[in-house]
Structures are given as structure tokens and as C-alpha cells.
Subunit: 387 residues, 2 copies
């Protein structure tokens, strides 16, 4: 940082550079970073402060003051940005267009997000599924199934890429052809746990791996609670599938509540250690979930019908995620209802087949997918209706 910067407050690229530099401070989690920012007003001011000024901040000792001075004189920000460019990691700054809207609403949004993969507008409709690392078969199966059902219903599944429930949730979303986001405590190029490196690649290919730490950061103690606020902060609601007493998943659920988001929990046997936390959450007011409808019932009303690119009104999250064939078949359904003009909102399957210029098998497969997505339902007498 040169002297000129002191006279001219950093903006644009310079502010960004200082934020990246701040993210690179070793051993500084979101709480201490926020304290420094609150105290000095800007990352620039932190890097131009004297050692004495720095040590006036609670929990800043000589070692950290030294580290800040070293970083100020280094090119670490430039090098990090270069690394991100080479390795395909996007850096999203708070206040810019690509930054997740829901996350921006929490009390202490991360100034920067490092993103491997891609965040899309539809990821604003997200549910996090979290739980125990040492989950039981019941917990893993449940997380997998609920993640799949929610993904088919149009929601992006957020989790923490941990062993157990987290991994099952990501896999469930991927298997259902849905989108999923993994929020890490370590850097996105330093995946923890190591055996989930391959899963991280899959997640990045159909969503994103996200961290507020620079790409090569190893996890530090305290990074996980901070990480959890991003998991819940990205989501309309948090669903806890299994959690022992004092589990990190309970922290995520608490943060979700504090952030004004929905809290859901799956019950389990009262003599199972892994169900203690989730049963307790229900006692404390979390909504008990036995199937995907219990979640959709709460989240559905949060979705406002919006006009899509093609002018049609999108009535549910699932409609944002249709493939081309599904979109064609749904459009044919809506046309058939409008053409009939008899006030009935149902269409005969045979009429739908006649109305689509597609093979019978493709139409029937698309109808099946639209049923799974809870957009249409099959009525007696081979008739279809919107849900």
C-alpha cells in the first residue's frame, strides 16, 4: 500500500484488491475480520494502520499485527487473483450484481465469495440440508431422498460437503439432475475432507463450490461456524436431517432462525444418538418434516409467479428448471387447456400426445418428469392437471 492511497480512499479495483488481501490474512475468521473492518472502516485503513493502532482491536496481538504489515507490503492479493483466473475461480464481491441476494441480506455477509463453478439466478431458490458427519444409514438415505425431491421441485440444495448427511444431500440433488452448492470452511481448491475432491468437481459442474477463504486456504478452527452462516444465509430454509447434541448442524439451524429463515428437522428414534439434536429442534419450534411436501408447503408461498424469458408465467420454482422437452410439453398442456375453453383445467393424455410434435415416448417421459417436479398431476381417467 503506497502513501497516495491514504489520501485517496480506495474504490473499485483498489478496494477489491484490499478485500482480497484481507481475505488472505492467515488465522482471521469472519468475526475478527468484521471487528477490524468495523474499527477501521475499510480494508485499506487496516493495511495502512500502525502496529499500535492495530493492537487496540480486541484479539489483535503482535503476531497478527506483523502479519497485516507483511501482507500490506506483499503482492498476495494480485497473486490470489491471478491464481483464481488460472484455475477458474470467480471472486464475487458484496454489493456487485452476481452476489447472492439472500446472502446479502444477513447481518454479516462475507465481503468476498470465492466460487468454483457458477451461481445462477435460480439458486436464489435454495434449501440447505445439513446434519451429522457420523450419520446413520437412515439419515443418509433420508437426506439423499429429500434432496432429490426438493431438487426435482426446483430448489437448489446447499450443504457443506462434509461426510455423512452433507455428502448424501449433494449426491441426492446431483442424482435428481438438480443443482447444488457446497460451502467450504477451507478454500475451494483445498477441498476438505480430501475424499470428497471428486464430489466437489461434480458439484462445481452442476452448481458451485463456495468459500469466503482464498482458494488454497486450509480449514482453521472457527471456520466452520462461520461457514455455516453462509450455508443458511444462501437458503430460504435449513433442514436438519440428523444431528447429535452440540452438532454443527444445530448451529446452522440456529443461524437460519436468527436470519429469519425457515427451520426444518427430520425426526428420528428417541434412543438414537444422531436424532437427539433434530428431535430437540422440533421441540424448540422447528417444523417436523416427513416428506418433501412438508417443506414445499412452507416455501411455496415464498415464490412469486414471474414472467419467463418466453413471456409465459412461471408459477413454481420447478418451472425455472425444465429442460427443452419438458418445457415444450408443458406449453402444449397450457395451450390445450386454453383452447378447450370449457373452464376445465384438465387435459386428456391422448390429446396432449396429439398436440406435441414429439414421439410418444418422449412426451410420456416428460409427463413423468413434470409429475416428479410436482407441476402436473395425473387424475383418474387418464387426465392431467396442473398442481
Amino acid at each position: 500500500m503506497n502513501a497516495a492511497a491514504v489520501d485517496r480512499p480506495a474504490t473499485g479495483p483498489e478496494l477489491f484488491l484490499n478485500h482480497v488481501r484481507l481475505a488472505c490474512l492467515p488465522g482471521v475468521g469472519s468475526i475478527l475480520r468484521k471487528r477490524l473492518l468495523d474499527h477501521f472502516g475499510s480494508p485499506e485503513a487496516i493495511f495502512t494502520a500502525t502496529a499500535g493502532e492495530l493492537r487496540a482491536v480486541h484479539k489483535v496481538g503482535p503476531k497478527l499485527a506483523d502479519a497485516i504489515a507483511t501482507l500490506a507490503a506483499s503482492r498476495i492479493a494480485e497473486e490470489t487473483i491471478d491464481l483464481c483466473r488460472r484455475r477458474g475461480v470467480e471472486i464475487l464481491a458484496e454489493g456487485t450484481a452476481g452476489y447472492p441476494r439472500l446472502l446479502a441480506q444477513i447481518d454479516d455477509p462475507p465481503p468476498l465469495l470465492f466460487v468454483k463453478g457458477r451461481l445462477e439466478p435460480c439458486d436464489g431458490l435454495a434449501v440447505s440440508i445439513v446434519g451429522a458427519r457420523h450419520a446413520t444409514a437412515y439419515g443418509r438415505r433420508t437426506a439423499f431422498q429429500l434432496a432429490g425431491s426438493l431438487a426435482r421441485a426446483g430448489y437448489t440444495i446447499v450443504s457443506g460437503l462434509a461426510r455423512g448427511i452433507d455428502a448424501a444431500a449433494h449426491r441426492g440433488a446431483l442424482d435428481a439432475g438438480g443443482r447444488t452448492l457446497a460451502v467450504l470452511g477451507s478454500g475451494v481448491l483445498s477441498v476438505y475432507p480430501p475424499e470428497h475432491a471428486e464430489l466437489a468437481v461434480e458439484v462445481a459442474g452442476r452448481g458451485a463450490v463456495i468459500s469466503e477463504a482464498p482458494p488454497l486456504a486450509t480449514p482453521i478452527p472457527g471456520a466452520f461456524p462461520s461457514r455455516n452462516r453462509i450455508v443458511s444465509g444462501l437458503s430460504l430454509g435449513t433442514l436438519v436431517v440428523e444431528a447429535a447434541d452440540r452438532s454443527g448442524a444445530l448451529i446452522t439451524a440456529r443461524l437460519a432462525g436468527e436470519q429469519g429463515r425457515e427451520v426444518f428437522a427430520v425426526p428420528g428414534p428417541i434412543d438414537g444418538r444422531m436424532s437427539r439434536g433434530s428431535n430437540r429442534l422440533i421441540q424448540d419450534g422447528a417444523k417436523l418434516v416427513t416428506n418433501v411436501d412438508d417443506v414445499l408447503e412452507e416455501l411455496g408461498p415464498l415464490f412469486e409467479p414471474t414472467p419467463a424469458a418466453d413471456g409465459r408465467e412461471v408459477r413454481s420454482p420447478a418451472e425455472l428448471r425444465l429442460d427443452e422437452v419438458e418445457r415444450t410439453v408443458l406449453a402444449a398442456f397450457d395451450r390445450a387447456v386454453a383452447d378447450a375453453g370449457d373452464g376445465q383445467a384438465t387435459v386428456d393424455v391422448d390429446d396432449l400426445l396429439a398436440g406435441c410434435e414429439l414421439t410418444v415416448s418422449r412426451v410420456l417421459a416428460a409427463v413423468g418428469a413434470l409429475e416428479m417436479r410436482r407441476i402436473i398431476t395425473r387424475l383418474p381417467g387418464n387426465r392431467l392437471a396442473r398442481i
Copy 2:
């Protein structure tokens, strides 16, 4: 029924006789009986009505009108009373002193209860535990344990003597040395299911087997929902341990709610058929129970401290059920606290041993029992305190 009775409304023994006669009407459940009573005003008026008057009542056909005439002319009431006397079955009439106070408060209390065993005043502190006949091992284990813990804490356990959860609940109470009541759909001398005949004998020995049907009645369709209102009606709260969709236990829970009593449910795995009903109950507002404290927390405040026979104040349900040694040790504890007069409510175990004229092993066993009953608790440093 002779002509004299028509001029002189039946009271006392005569009213009682007519109520027993009414209870003996074959194929008449509590709903139709109430309809007859509401229509005619008294059992006597039912038995002096003409066939035409009887058939003016909804669901009374020629067959039932005939049966009423036959019964009116018979000595069935006298014979039933005689049978009860010979076989040790007590008949409690609504409005008399021995009739259970909580049951008298419901909308349609049975006019008579046939009781094999004995109802005691402490049975007014009762919790019913009900659930699936085809319960899982988890359900049976849970019912057994919770029944035992509640029995030790001073509650009488009410259930329906059915297979599965009911039987486990009775056994749990018996094993813990507690009291238990079994309410049958059949007569108390015609136990159903037959393989629970022995369990019924044990229950009658440490509580009571109860029915509103005469002693030899076989179960009629419709008797079980009626029976369930007595199960919940006898209890401060009803706890459902496992229940499939449309289970009878859910009817009991609904009736408990309608009667203004507490409703509790034990959660279970969402993919277990036997947990569907109980999880649903929790979604609908039942209190989720993971251990006995969750129940005691709700019921405890319903208990008002009362002076016992010996003048001491009884502060919890459990104190109503102490054996002589436990009572002696608790009195010694209370004396030690009062004597110390140092404002501390704790007593050293050694001081307690010195204060009782009993062997060390008996005192320590009693202390253990008082802990199990949640009357006293052990603090660090070998000290004891009231809970």
C-alpha cells in the same frame, strides 16, 4: 319391571339395577346408549317404553326393541350383579364416591364401570400410553421404558391391554413396581386378546382391569373407539408411542385433545410405517417426547402439593407412592434440612445415614429409589437435594 315402578321414579338401588340392565343390552355401544338415555331421560323409562316409542329413536330397529323388552322382563341385572359379587368385580356408578374424578369430567362418562382389581385415589394421577398393535421393537422398548419411568415418578399408567404398545406399557409399569389400569372393549372376565389373560391378572393385582361392558361381554364392533374415550378420560395426558395411519391410538389422542387433556407423541423414523401417525400428531401440535422429563414438565404443574395422612406436605406425585423405607428416609432428609437451618437445602449422605435407624444398605437403596422417582437428586460432594 313391574307397574309400580312406572308411578315411582327409580332411585338408589332401583336406578342402579336399571343401569346394569341397560349395560347388558347386546350390541349397544356408548353412543346408542347415550341416545336412548337422552331420549327417555332415565334407564327406567327405556325399559317401560313401548316398542313404538323405542323405534322413534334413531338406529333402534325391531330387533333391538325386542331385546329391550326381553331384558325388561328378565333378571339379567340381578344375575350380573350376583356374578360380579362372586367373581370380585366391583361396579362403580357415575356420581358415586369411588367413580374416577377425571372420567366424570368428560362429555359422556360411562354410567357404570365394571372393575376387576381396585381403583385408588392416586390413580387420579394417570397417564395413558397407547399405540400400534403391530409395533416395532423400538416402539415396544420405548413404551416399556417410558411407562416404567412415569410409574416411578408417581403416575398410574393407563392403556388398553392390546398387543404391542399397550402390553409393553402395562409391563413397564408393573416392572417398575407401579400401578396400571387396563381398559377393555370386552368384559373384564372375557379378556381380549386371550393371550393377555395372565397380564390382565397381574394388572388387576396392581391396579385394575376396567370396562363399561358387563363382565362376560365379548367385544363388539365399535366398542374400541368407545373404550378409547375411557382410556383418555381417565388420564391427565395421552402419550402415543407408535401409530400407523388411521390407528386407534390416533383416535385416543384426538379424544384426549377434545377432553382438554395433554397429548404427547414419541417421534420415529419418517420411513417407518409405524411412526407415521405419531409424527403426524406432532405436526398437528402434540408435544414431542424424547424422555420422561418431557412429560413431567407438562404434568408436574397440574399437581398441587397436599397434606398427606401423616401431616407432611406431599410435593410430587411420586411421594404418594413411597414404600415405608423410602418414606422414612425422605422424612429423615426433610428433618436434616430443617435441623440444619442454614438456608441450604442439601444433606450429606453420611449425615442421612446417621439420621436413619436403618441399615446402610437399606438407606442407600431407598436413596436410589428416591432418585429414580425424581424426588431427590445427588449433587457433587456426596450431597443430596430435593428436585
